[in-house]
């Protein structure tokens, strides 16, 4: 039962991803991307990471995609003309396929070792995923977390400075 559901979601995710790269209109691409994000959120839930799923939907589907769609509409972008060079498409296909083949090879060959941590499905259910993540972030990863906040601040300042008409 679960495996069928997985394949279904996986199919939707891949088809949506395909739409992202094939659609003429950037709006359609964006909607395909949102769809992919939702599928990934479902995967996260299936992987016992409900907090990450929520963050995925809120940050990606909510914030980033809205920002992107907003810019698309702000710039009033229409459909894109066909790519001029077939040469670029051919070589790009070869490159992507090689990447795919390489990664699949590693996945097939790889031996992921057994579980070693203590964040079992049971633990997640009994304590709550949010609490576990919170503990990790505010104890072990406190410094990187603070630095990330500074990074965000800098990005905000940079975005404002770049987008302003006159400084």
């Amino acid at each position: 039962m679960e495996i069928i559901f997985f394949y279904l979601v996986a199919l939707v995710a891949v088809v949506s991803g395909f739409l992202v790269i094939r659609c003429q209109s950037p709006i359609n691409s964006g909607l395909g991307l949102v769809n992919t994000f939702f599928c990934l959120a479902i995967f996260y839930v299936m992987l016992h990471a409900p907090f990450m799923a929520a963050v995925q939907i809120m940050v990606y589907a909510g914030a980033i995609m809205v920002l992107i769609l907003f810019v698309i509409m702000l710039l009033n972008l229409g459909a894109e003309a066909r790519h001029r060079y077939t040469k670029g498409i051919v070589w790009s296909s070869i490159a992507s396929l090689m990447i795919l083949a390489n990664v699949i090879f590693f996945i097939k060959r790889g031996r992921v070792t057994g579980a070693e941590g203590d964040i079992t499905a049971f633990a997640v259910e009994s304590f709550g995923h949010t609490e576990l993540i919170g503990k990790a972030i505010f104890t072990e990863f406190l410094l990187p977390f603070e630095i990330a906040s500074i990074l965000l601040l800098v990005a905000i300042v940079g975005a404002v400075v770049l987008a302003k008409k006159e400084v």
Partner: protein, 100 residues
């Protein structure tokens, strides 16, 4: 039974799709979205392995990837607005200043 390899295969397919998109599309915003797609495929791998190994570290990494993606979105989109303002286009074929 769904193994970690299933998730990773999906992730690989999405990553390859993102790569193809970055290399072929001419619209800068679509390229940008393809990059988001690649980042997300990596996120999927992180969380799948984190769940499989029963460790929280992978998920923390995903948090940081998201932070970087958000920052990138803000700065990248601001750049695109500036570029559009100058060239009246966000076609990457118009971005050829690297050639002298």
């Amino acid at each position: 039974m769904i193994s970690v390899y299933h998730y990773m295969t999906v992730s690989a397919i999405l990553f390859a799709l993102g790569t193809y998109g970055v290399l072929t599309r001419r619209n800068a915003i679509v390229i940008f979205m393809c990059i988001e797609l690649m980042l997300n495929s990596v996120n999927l791998t992180f969380i799948a392995l984190s769940s499989h190994l029963q460790s929280m570290d992978g998920q923390i990494f995903v948090m940081f990837v998201m932070v970087v993606a958000a920052a990138e979105a803000a700065v990248g989109l601001a750049l695109m607005i500036t570029f559009y303002r100058n060239r009246d286009s966000i076609d990457v074929d118009d971005m050829n200043l690297l050639k002298l």
